[in-house]
Structure formats: structure tokens, C-alpha cells
């Protein structure tokens, strides 16, 4: 088997809490990614998707402890912490942070802020950096003369384009985009998603799209992982996740998502709330909210198992042959 471009292997992240105790935010996450692939990381707030991305970037706060591996072309970049991550940060793996469009320095021109990582990483200097910045801006759909403008002269959609250009400054192979369209209107969202798709295909860029919005993933990604309570509940092609889900959470999450075509039916809601992550979880974390839970779910932790081609799910239902509906 060939080595994937990026592979997460049993990634765990704990945060030390100020009042003592630990919060286990990412609990054994594994998935991999090929060059040029568009991968969705989906889940509700607090499910650990952003924390998992920050650990790939080596940008977790000091109170975090990480275990497991993040392999880039087979090399575990977490092996010696900052020493092994930093050569790859921005150069190989870049991230557009949530709210990045609002994080530009207001007193510096947009162009100079895109050039800065080029200088810092020795990619380009002076006129070359300037030319590359202008090319990048044009590539993301911003006229190059806007390089001398300040962030407040840009609309929200343009700032998001500039944030994407900045992440691409050092020509990474992998782009992590955390909720890149959440604060944007649907028409601007469509523009940004179209841009991300075209960048991924033009530069053979692997894209991880982190979002709570399943339809966005359904329209943009090839594969996706659904996260719940810090774990991957299911990971598969986006088509399989929608049409043949193997985890009740995936099925319910789609059912809870309104759709234009579905008519006036009531949308499902999932009762209850995710479990606390500062206490040990016994059994399946989704069991208290699951509509299909049965005997083993309350006590035995389901493991992520193969249920199809490049399709894994962590649910006891897949281990047990259910009675046929009609005898």
C-alpha cells in the first residue's frame, strides 16, 4: 500500500483544566488523506475537530498534551514536538483559521501581510515576494492593485479570499480550512467554496474542510469523517455517509439537516446533549442520545472498524447480525 500524504493515527489531546482535572478533547482520532483529496471533518461544537487540526499544525496551547501520530509522507511530525513540526508548518501544511478574515492587522496593508510568511520562511524576498503576492491575490480572485489596500477596505468575502491567499503563501501541500464560510452569506459562501475546490484541483492541494455544515461537505468533499465527543464516529466517502451510513449519529445528523428538496416534513432533532469530556466515558459516547442503542452500548466502547471500502464506523450495530425484519 502506498503511503498516504497525511495520516492521523490514534491522535489524543488532553487539556489540563485550571481547577485541576483534564479534558480529553480528542480521543483516538485516525484518518488519512491523499494528495488533491477534499476531506470533510464534520461535527457539532465541542466535538474536537478544531483541536485535531491545531495539533496537526503544532499550535495547541501550553496546557495541552498530545499523544499519537501525525504522519506527513510517512514521517511522524509530532515525534519531537516543535522541532519536528515547525519545518512543515506553513511550508507543507497551512491553515485558514476560523474567523481568519477578521484577524488581519488593521494598520498593515493586505499585501504586506501575505508577503510576511514568504520572508519568514525564506520562500521569496523583495520584488519576487511582491510579484508572488500579486499572483496569489489574482488567483484567489482579488485584483492585484488591492495589495496596497488595508483590511477595512475589503468586504467579508474578499478578506476571506485574502486569508486563503495568505495560507497559500509558502505553497503548502495541505490546506486546513476551519469553518471558512460560517460567517458568510450563502452567495459569498458559494464563491469561497468554488475557490477552494479549484485551488485543490489546480495545485493538487489536499484540503481538510472543518465544518458543522453537512450540506457544505456533501457538495464539496470526496470523503469525510463525522466526529462526536472527540472521536471519529464514522469515516467514508461522502456518498456512503449520506446513502449508506453505518453509525446512527451520521444518519440522525443528516436527518436533522433541513434541505430545500425535502418538502415540508418535520426535521428530526436529536434529544439530549453530547457527554462531558472531563469525565471518563463508559460505553459508546452517543448511546444516551441514540435511537438504536442496545445491550452492549452502555458498557462496551465500540471500536472503529472496517464496514466497507475505505469506510469505517464505531458502532456495535455493525458487529451484530440483526434479526431480519420479516421472517
Amino acid at each position: 500500500m502506498t503511503t498516504p500524504l497525511l495520516a492521523l493515527e490514534d491522535l489524543n489531546v488532553w487539556f489540563e483544566l485550571p481547577g485541576g482535572g483534564e479534558l480529553h478533547a480528542v480521543r483516538g482520532v485516525s484518518f488519512d488523506l491523499e494528495a488533491g483529496e477534499r476531506f470533510g471533518l464534520v461535527g457539532e461544537s465541542g466535538c474536537g475537530k478544531t483541536t485535531a487540526m491545531l495539533s496537526i499544525m503544532g499550535l495547541l496551547p501550553p496546557n495541552a498534551t498530545v499523544a499519537g501520530e501525525v504522519r506527513l509522507d510517512g514521517e511522524n511530525i509530532l515525534a519531537r514536538g516543535e522541532e519536528t513540526v515547525s519545518p512543515h508548518r506553513w511550508d507543507d501544511i497551512a491553515m485558514v483559521f476560523q474567523g481568519a478574515m477578521n484577524a488581519f492587522n488593521p494598520v498593515q496593508t493586505v499585501g504586506s501581510q501575505i508577503e510576511e510568511p514568504m520572508h519568514l520562511h525564506g520562500v521569496a524576498e523583495g520584488k519576487v515576494a511582491r510579484r508572488q503576492t500579486e499572483e496569489l491575490l489574482e488567483r484567489v480572485g482579488i485584483p492585484k492593485d488591492r495589495a496596497d489596500r488595508f483590511p477595512h477596505e475589503f468586504s467579508g468575502g474578499m478578506r476571506q479570499r485574502a486569508a486563503i491567499a495568505m495560507a497559500l503563501a509558502c505553497e503548502p501541500k495541505i490546506l486546513l480550512a476551519d469553518e471558512p464560510t460560517t460567517a458568510l452569506d450563502v452567495m459569498v459562501q458559494a464563491q469561497i467554496l468554488e475557490l477552494l475546490v479549484s485551488l485543490a484541483s489546480d495545485f493538487n492541494l489536499a484540503l481538510i474542510l472543518v465544518t458543522h455544515d453537512l450540506p457544505v461537505v456533501a457538495q464539496v468533499c470526496d470523503r469525510a469523517a463525522v466526529m462526536y465527543a472527540g472521536e471519529v464516529a464514522e469515516s467514508a466517502s461522502i456518498d456512503a455517509l449520506f446513502h449508506t451510513p453505518k453509525h446512527p449519529y451520521t444518519r440522525l445528523l443528516f436527518a436533522a439537516t433541513p434541505d430545500l428538496r425535502a418538502g415540508g416534513d418535520r426535521v428530526a432533532s436529536i434529544p439530549g446533549a453530547p457527554p462531558r469530556l472531563d469525565k471518563p466515558i463508559v460505553g459508546c459516547p452517543f448511546q444516551p442520545r441514540c435511537d438504536s442503542a442496545f445491550a452492549p452500548c452502555a458498557t462496551e466502547t465500540p471500536l472503529l472498524k472496517n464496514v466497507g471500502e475505505r469506510h469505517v464506523a464505531a458502532c456495535h450495530l455493525n458487529d451484530h447480525v440483526r434479526e431480519p425484519a420479516t421472517a
Partner: protein, 334 residues
Amino acid sequence: MSTNGSKPLLEVEDLVASYPVGRGLIGAAKREPKLEVHAVDGVSFALNRGEMLALVGESGCGKTSTAQSVLRLIETSRGSIRFDGQEITGLSSKDLRPLRRRMQIVYQDPYESLDPRFRVGATIEEPLQVHGIGSKDERREEVKRALELAGLTPPELYIDRYPHELSGGQRQRVAIAASLVLHPELLVADEPVSMLDVSVRAGILSILDDLRDNGLAVLMITHDLSTAAHYADRIAVMYLGRIVEEGPTREVIENPQHPYTRALLSVVPKRDPRDRGTPQILRGETPNSIHIPAGCRFNPRCPMAIAECKTVDPELRRPAASRDPEHLAACIRV
């Protein structure tokens, strides 16, 4: 007086609301003309009891300003708002007060809209105290009833809690309970679920759905067309301060006529990955509502615009291809 079955509960006609914007010190010194944002620029609609109308559109289209003018939370410069047959645009705040309890609003962010120092019970009881309704015990019963309507049962479990002890969904239910405690006839819901996780949204929206079935008129403000498609009876699409298309939900969603509605619907992501159509992406962003384009306000971005569109400001009328007499669009090309 209060129940007049056939007449709409709310009738809005040619409503205009604008805000002044600063010219800046230099602009003022140069005596540049004073600028105004035309947030609402000639909006008309009606809402019946037991009906949910969704005002949809992108940020800045004037949907929230429309809702706020209806509640007289912002002043209007022109037009008429009739609530249960009574004109309310000219009413003093004293005369408005008895009407206020009949119209309530639920805001977008339950993390901001609840006072963190108030227990749930006190938050819900406050409107009753403001309007001087009931004895202490009666008020307590009303609070419990409102909690139950909002799906927080048993009410005893929630009444003495503080907002920080509740999840986002539960907080929004408290906000809804506080808006229901006065038995309003009109409820304005301004993006009631956009701050909440997907799994709890349906629970909140089904409360509004049930209240509508029991006769409440609901004006829902949302940017989410999928949500509007599921819950609203009618949809009005706004663009730059004006309703550009309006009609029964299925008709607007399945047979959109205005080119803006068509483009907007085409870019809404569908949850079925096999349903990847070709989104019709409009370039650029919505122009600001200080300088509204002449003629049809959508003409600079419209794929169907002809020369006439630059001069004629189209009125809402029934499009040729509509299948429903209540379906209206403001476009001379359809």
C-alpha cells in the same frame, strides 16, 4: 375587537426605514450631501393568524430592519403598519404599550439575550411585572405554563436555574418562554436557530411550528432558505430593502421566478452529495443600500437584465409562469 378571522393580523404597506450614516469630518466640511442607508425601501406584506411568513435574504437586505419596524423598535419614515386593523405607525409609546404585549420578539443569540444574573423564572416573569399582570402566584403559574410551551418540562427543573447552567438550545427555549408569557398574537423570530447546533435546531423550530398551528402569527427572519422551506407557509425574498419575490413556500422553492431567487436557491448546498447541480454564482457582493441602483435594483448583477431594467423599477406582480395566484415577483422579464 381582537379576533377578526378573515383580516390579516399584520398588514404592512410601502414601508420605508432609513438610517443616517456619517459623512466623516472631511465630508461634512466639504458639505457633501447627507447620506442615508435605505434599509427598508418600500416593503409590503400581510401576515395572518396561524401563519408563518419567512423573510429571507442575505445580510444587509433589510429583513431584520423590516421586523424591527413592524414592532416599532426603529422608526419608519413612510408607509403603514396595521396590527389587527389598527394603524400603529403614529402611536405614542404610551398608546403603543397595550399593543406591545400582543407582539413579541425572539432574538438570534440566547447567549446575549438572557440576563446572566436573572434566574430563568425571573427572566420569564419580568414581562408580566412590566405590564402589571396577575398576583405573585398567578405569575408563577404563567411562568410554568410558558416553560412547558417552550418544551422545558417539568418546569420546576428549570425555573430556579441560571442561564449559565443551560445549554444553548435550552437558553433559546427560555427566551421563547419569556416571549410567550404574555400570550402574544404575533411573534417575530429573528434567526432563532442560527447560533445553535444542528441537532437541537429542529426542536426549537418545532415549538414555533406548534404555536403557529395554535393560531400564533410568526414572522421568521432567516438567511437559511432550507429552514424556511421546511417550516414557513409563505416565503418573501428580500434584496436591497425590497421584497423581490413572495408566495406560498412550495411555489417559491420549486418554481422560483425572480432571477435573484433562482440564483440564491441554486447556491444553497443540498445534503445529498449526488445532488450537485451547477450553482449559479452571482459575482461580486450585494451593493450597499446607500447607493441603490436605478431601475431594478438587481439589474447590475442580473443575468437576464435588458436595457429597460436600468430604468424601470419593477413592481410585485404575478409572473406568467406562476402556478399560484398568490405568487408575486418584481421583475419585468417574467
